[in-house]
Symmetry: C2
């Protein structure tokens, strides 16, 4: 129950920090820019609320790691806000790049305000993310803040590298499971790695402990994406807020699909023939399952979750926050599998 | 001749610094991402060369200000690379937002590689810009680097605020010259202000001198944009690398257009009726000129150039680099007027 208790304590502080940062970009002339950001963050507009905001997993991970490593969570709030804003900046741009109309059950920013404003709003949120981090200034030494700034910015570069692969895979047919990991390391694992590393850094952990927390975040990220890919085909639309089986309709090269291509069976033959229409989705997902992709993806997600839990144990996290990190990991992995 | 001499000295070092930063994002899996960046920077691909690279005005401004304020130009190379990469990141995204097919006479990144890759490549360059700045680490104190990082990131936020206004003006007809300045302060003046401020900061100037260099960069930026708007209607396409009179065709709310709308005469009446086709451009630009917009824009550009020169004089810049800053300002303003 540590997770529930600490979520109740941290979440309002995270939202408050996020709002302070986002509000810093408002002003007489820029109310419309703020509106797009507060909409996307789930605070304002049609469908605003807890569901639209998402779970704020990343900032929770920063605060919990900070405390589990012996630091104060209040000190880490700027870093927590920063990772959540980086995540949300990337969602605004990803929604354009993936041509997605819905995000958490609501129209995406580009769908509501058009392409040009959406690209620019993502850019604004990107700047705000890094400005949020630089607010660490108030409590930590310049040397640590600079290190944190480099870590977060390198992660943003890794995000774009992963996204580059994801987009470029859409025009390639000769892919295998080996192509999956460099993409997911960038797209998902990089930011979760940074969440846990920033926590350990702010708690002023030694080098070895930081590396162990990195390993925890990294494996959590890989497991998280593998599970997301699983849910993208065999998930429940009401729960994910996305269209049913949208990954197959969009031709997304997810882990089950890459596994299926590697089998070079009926699925691969059908896939090579071109886009899958809505009417064919259930047949194709059954075919994928028959060729072992569902079990494989399930097992990979579970294997990496075990690796994450092992790393977490090795890091020796303390107290309630440590317990909450174990809970969080287990909970994330029980979304649907 | 100081400008020519110092350009010969600084420019190869700027290109070298830029390439080091951009190359840091390459790697086995990401050659295609690097290719888009090296193309955009004018180093590789069809039409690569000095013309495609542009004049590198912003990094030159950083180095010249650093030296004119008493610092060493070599120390400022990371900041010089950073501002040029911020500028180029914003060009990649602006070209999408403005639906521009050509940049410096070459196809734009989105035109060559598509929307999704272009947005993502801009994001990658955005990260690289800030990583470039953090390389100041090697020569300056953490306190100064942090201050520089905040200045540059605030500027990026201002860029998006200016761009937000620019895009939103496209759907408004009740605009006047007063709406122009908040847009241009963000879109153009913010980054030039930062170039001169970073130079003074790296040279460890006192607060007053930094403020005076800021004022120089700010007025230079306003003058530069006013002139750009002038050239966007009365300029020579071969010189600007853009389509002839593209600003009128695209309905861009530039300074001459806003001046014309404020006159509420024949131009404003025609403008309210909808888009201007290519065949009508020369008639409309003549109409704008007859209503005083050409003279007004010319005078505004000149007035702000005078203010920039005055601020520069007040800053008391030293030696060859100081002389070169005067030359640079005069040269920028003599592009076509």
């Amino acid at each position: 129950m540590s997770l529930q208790k600490l979520t109740k304590l941290y979440l309002p502080a995270i939202e408050n920090e996020l709002r302070q940062v986002v509000d810093s970009a408002s002003g007489t002339h820029f109310a419309g820019l703020s509106e797009m950001m507060t909409y996307h963050m789930g605070w304002e507009g049609q469908g605003a609320g807890a569901k639209a905001r998402g779970k704020r997993v990343r900032p929770m991970l920063v605060l919990l790691t900070t405390v589990a490593a012996g630091g104060k969570w209040q000190q880490a709030l700027p870093a927590a806000a920063a990772v959540e804003l980086v995540h949300n900046f990337s969602l605004i741009h990803d929604d354009i790049e993936d041509n997605s109309s819905l995000r958490r059950g609501r129209p995406t920013v580009w769908k509501k305000w058009g392409l040009a404003q959406a690209i620019n709003t993502g850019d604004a949120m990107f700047s705000l993310a890094h400005l949020a981090l630089l607010r660490l200034d108030e409590t930590l030494s310049p040397r640590i803040i600079l290190e944190a700034a480099v870590i977060l910015q390198q992660t943003c570069l890794h995000l774009t590298q992963g996204q580059y692969l994801d987009i470029s895979y859409e025009n390639r047919s000769n892919l295998s499971v080996a192509d999956y990991w460099p993409m997911v390391r960038g797209k998902t694992a990089a930011l979760l790695t940074t969440c846990t590393e920033l926590g350990a850094l702010i708690a002023e952990s030694n080098y070895e402990t930081r590396a162990t927390y990195r390993r925890f975040g990294f494996n959590l990220g890989l497991a998280f994406q593998a599970l997301d890919d699983y849910l993208g085909i065999w998930g429940n639309a009401a729960q994910t807020g996305k269209s049913v089986a949208s990954d197959l309709l969009e031709g997304k090269k997810s882990l089950p699909v890459l596994y299926g291509l590697e089998q070079d069976g009926d699925f691969a033959t059908r896939w090579a023939k071109g886009p899958i229409p809505p009417g064919e989705v259930s047949k194709i997902s059954a075919q994928l399952e028959a060729e072992g992709a569902r079990t494989y993806t399930h097992n990979e997600a579970r294997r990496m979750t075990q690796q994450a839990l092992q790393a977490l144990e090795d890091a020796g996290p303390r107290g309630d926050a440590g317990e909450a990190l174990f809970e969080l990991t287990n909970k994330l992995m029980q979304r649907e599998i």
